[in-house]
């Protein structure tokens, strides 16, 4: 059986060119860049070069790039680091209701520490309501965090408008660009952000490595204390091979950004068109046009997401229900609920995320299989009314 991978928003395979570039730094060039001797010094240049490459690709200065263990740590650092360092200025933080759990869970921890958090509302497409966000700002607001694009439904957020507003009000603005990096051009100057995060493994780079961009002048509190790595801002032995790999992966992704995005979007559009036309009682979640090129998220009424996920898995098709980070939880996705989706539809949602190695044939195969599986699972469902017309369903939602 062919195994088809439609879960690129969860992670991507490492590009072979990236792997080649990383390999020497595991074996021959294994030194610790903080060591004084030759073995250490040999790796310093590789880390500097990677930092320069990444800085150039996102319009930053090398001194504004901080290496972390990935998106979660970067998000934690931006939010908690701001809260702690600027608490004398205020204790109110705003994050969107559809942020990654790395932000939502951290915000909830900060509430326990005595901070006030507003979870900014989104519309039915998962887009942050900018007017409502503006009204939520108080004199003691110190932080606004809105992701560049959502990981579950792929909606691209109006961060230009929000960052301009934050700047005008003197509030620090952070964007989680984990899903956007590699798929969309990233430039920390346009729109201007104070902090930005991304993670290597979402653009054919390695797992376990990420970046937090911190604009010069922004002074964050430390969350990982230790040695003098990362200008004494983040302890932990410098992960040379992964840093080298992430820089190369980002370089390759940016080089072909438009081309890859167009290809992946063509697969997504083919998938969306066929599913919408050929399977009744479905709803495309997320924005019709302002969405990541790789993302299609559908709710299949009368079908539960996990049983659909496993049925697709048994047919060789790898997808995700809601977000992989929340699988194992019995709650429906916080993103879909924030968008106002009824719980029945939220439980039946599946994310398909396409990649550069996928083919139109795989999309066709997946849709054919999906049709069969949906018929089978609906026959099992006590909720499925045999005589319901699609027009009635469309009115209901």
């Amino acid at each position: 059986m062919e195994h088809i991978y439609f879960d690129h928003a969860a992670t991507t395979p490492v590009d072979k060119r990236v792997l080649e570039k990383m390999l020497p730094y595991f074996t021959e060039k294994f030194g610790n860049p903080n060591s004084q001797h030759w073995f250490g010094r040999e790796t310093v240049a590789a880390v500097d070069e990677a930092r320069d490459t990444i800085a150039k690709l996102i319009g930053a200065k090398p001194s504004e790039i901080y290496f972390t263990s990935g998106g979660t740590e970067s998000d934690n650092w931006a939010l908690r680091g701001t809260a702690h360092a600027y608490k004398d200025r205020g204790r109110h933080l705003i994050v969107s209701a559809v942020e990654h759990p790395a932000m939502i869970a951290t915000a909830k921890e900060l509430i326990k520490e005595g901070y006030d958090v507003t979870f900014a509302e989104v519309d039915e497409y998962g887009k942050v309501d900018v007017e409502k966000l503006k009204k939520a700002v108080r004199s003691d607001t110190i932080f606004i965090g809105v992701m560049t694009a959502n990981n579950e439904v792929g909606t691209i957020q109006p961060i230009a408008e929000i960052s301009a507003f934050a700047k005008e009000r003197g509030i620090l603005f952070f964007t989680d660009a984990v899903q956007a990096a590699g798929a969309l051009p990233i430039d920390v100057k346009s729109p201007a952000v104070d902090m930005l995060s991304f993670s290597g493994h979402k653009f054919y780079g390695p797992k376990g490595i990420g970046v937090l961009y911190i604009r010069t002048g922004v002074k964050l509190g430390r969350i990982i204390t230790g040695g003098h790595q990362e200008r004494s801002m983040r302890g932990g032995t410098t992960n040379v091979p992964l840093i080298v790999g992430m820089a190369e992966a980002l370089r390759l992704a940016q080089e072909k950004c438009a081309e890859n995005a167009a290809y992946v979007a063509s697969l997504r559009d083919k998938f969306i068109a066929r599913v919408s036309k050929e399977i009744p009682f479905v709803k495309l979640n997320g924005h019709p046009t302002d969405r990541l090129p790789a993302n299609a998220n559908f709710s299949f009424r009368y079908v539960e997401g996990e049983s659909l996920l496993f049925s697709l898995d048994l047919a060789g098709i790898a997808v995700s229900s809601g977000s992989a980070c929340s699988s194992g939880s019995l709650e429906p996705s916080h993103v879909l609920l924030a968008m106002g989706l009824p719980e029945g539809l939220a439980h039946g949602s599946i994310r398909f995320s396409f990649g550069i190695h996928n083919t139109p044939e795989q999309v066709d195969y997946a849709v054919d299989k999906l049709k069969e599986i949906i018929v089978k699972l609906r026959a099992l469902s006590p909720l499925f009314p045999k005589d319901l017309k699609n027009e009635v369903f469309e009115k209901e939602i």
């Binding site: 539960e304 049983s307 496993f310 019995l330 719980e343 029945g344 099992l380 006590p382 909720l383």
Partner: protein, 123 residues
């Protein structure tokens, strides 16, 4: 995360469907919680001669529905009341901890179907 037995029962569930002239029917769960199970039973001389189900839910919910309905066929209604979710889980070779609640659904739906049957008998 699931045993082979669970995946097998999920992939090829037995007793799927409805019994039109059922003697007892029970439906448990809610769409908001993400699982609903409906059980139909046919009873003759106090013995369950047929059982069918319809389930909206995860793989564990579907697998336990299939296994539980398979277990109660041929049992007396009182024996069927003793079929607990623990016994169903044993037959399936275990369930992940966060999925235990799905097996409770099968137990409850069977109990509801038997109650429905008994109510009709006494009416």
């Amino acid at each position: 995360m699931y045993t082979e037995k669970v995946m097998e029962a999920f992939q090829n569930p037995k007793n799927v469907g409805e019994i039109e002239d059922y003697d007892g029917m029970g439906m448990i769960g809610s769409e908001a919680c993400g699982d609903i199970m409906q059980v139909f039973i046919k009873v003759k001389d106090g013995v369950i001669t047929d059982a069918k189900f319809k389930t909206f839910g995860c793989a564990a919910a579907i697998a336990t529905s299939s296994t539980a309905t398979e277990m109660i066929k041929g049992m007396t209604v009182d024996e069927a009341l003793e079929v607990t979710n623990k016994k169903v889980i044993e037959v399936l070779g275990g369930l992940p901890p966060q999925k235990i609640h799905c097996s409770v659904l099968a137990e409850q739906a069977i109990k509801a179907a038997i109650e429905d049957y008994k109510k009709k008998q006494s009416a």
